[in-house]
Symmetry: C2
Subunit: 242 residues, 2 copies
């Protein structure tokens, strides 16, 4: 029986390795969940797989665990990045959470011509990604970067990475991903803000040889819905769902 | 140029047809958006397509419009129902909103062995579906039913409708939809609650000849993510995205 509680710990994991818990984790385990010494918890650090750990110190402010045994190998999802334009707070949180569940490797908030946000709380979004990873049973946590201007992202596009450009203006058209053969390798998905992309952005994106424009069905999707739908199509056709 | 504001009105639409607005709609158009007599609004009723209407009475409590011209035909999405187990309030609202965006024709909250909710606010969920339809540009509004026990739903399953059963316990397996040929016709999707289905439910569902078990990738998805992912796969393979 696997432990019910999964925790991300940013420390090396290995046989007998002692693990210090943060104040927040200690409070959760020992004040909220009322675990005692000897109780089992699953832990992962994003690099060393999942381990069974046992409570050695049930202190509500600074508890500790000891690693016992690896219960799952490290699995890193396919090389998919998600670029999205931050929207209202709750929906931005949802997009980060969903990107972690759907197996994005990196999550990049981008500032577009029609983006409302001038800044984001990177630390808060990263914490959402950690929480989603704890819940969805993955051993990997995607990195959430700081807000970057879309133009700068495109200026410094990495060699060999393809872009699935989800263009709201093409609602109702059929445009899909290239077939798996010949389309392996690193990819990114770009989801626009409410109101879509500007004419200038669409023209630039349409002319990029690494960009594949994709239409997401006949109805306009909100940005968070579009993000999940796009990641589903990608994972099914080119990623780890197939 | 299409009007920016889209409103659902539960009245017949046609050339010259006068439309009475609800108090809430009047407040939105004339107090919040400050429209004046002569302004244009897009309206739909779920049956007669989309029409351009013009403000004839800009009263904040009981305004009125007149229908002028049909701007889009009625489009009813493919015959897909979504059954889901209600979860926390915010996520239940999201599932209804996403089901409308993704083109579900009917949305049915079901009570399963592990469902927390004893009841739902059907009127509030229906209002969410209307709002989502207004935003996503569709001319159709899915019906949200009252909460129904899963066992009763299966007892009275309609002839000829197939079921895409998204089984959380099969995470990591590959199980897909049948190919388009031979799988046309009415379908439903079933998404479980957090904690999945009970052994009894899984046994019953697995034995139904109209049920196709589908695995949604290698990570555990929250119910709202699973709903969008499942509807994406269905619309792409069997629905109106292809």
């Amino acid at each position: 029986m696997r432990p019910k509680i999964r925790l991300f710990v940013d420390q090396p994991l290995g046989q007998g390795q002692p693990l210090a818990l943060t104040r927040e984790q200690s409070n959760y385990l020992f004040a909220v969940m009322r675990l005692a010494v000897g109780a089992e918890v699953a832990v992962f650090n994003g690099r060393d797989g999942e381990w069974r750990a046992r409570v050695t110190q049930a202190n509500k402010k600074n508890g500790a665990l000891a690693c016992e045994e690896q219960t799952a190998p490290q699995v890193t999802p396919p090389d998919l990045w998600l670029f999205f334009a931050p929207i209202k707070k709750a929906r931005t949180d949802f997009i980060v959470e969903k990107a972690a569940e759907m197996g994005a490797r990196r999550i990049v908030p981008v500032q577009t011509d029609f983006t409302n946000s001038e800044r984001i709380r990177q630390d808060r979004l990263q914490a959402h990604a950690v929480e989603a990873a704890e819940q969805c049973g993955t051993t990997f946590v995607p990195e959430v970067t700081d807000l970057q201007p879309l133009s700068a992202v495109l200026d410094h596009w990495p060699d060999g990475r393809r872009l699935m450009f989800c263009d709201e203006a093409r609602v109702g058209e059929t445009a899909g991903l290239p077939p798996r053969e010949g389309a392996a390798g690193p990819w990114a998905i770009l989801i626009g803000p409410e109101g879509g992309f500007s004419e200038g952005e669409r023209t630039r994106l349409g002319a990029l040889d690494f960009a594949h424009t994709v239409a997401l069905g006949p109805r306009i999707l909100r940005a968070d819905t579009a993000a999940v739908a796009a990641m589903t199509l990608w994972q099914m056709q080119l990623g780890d769902w197939a």
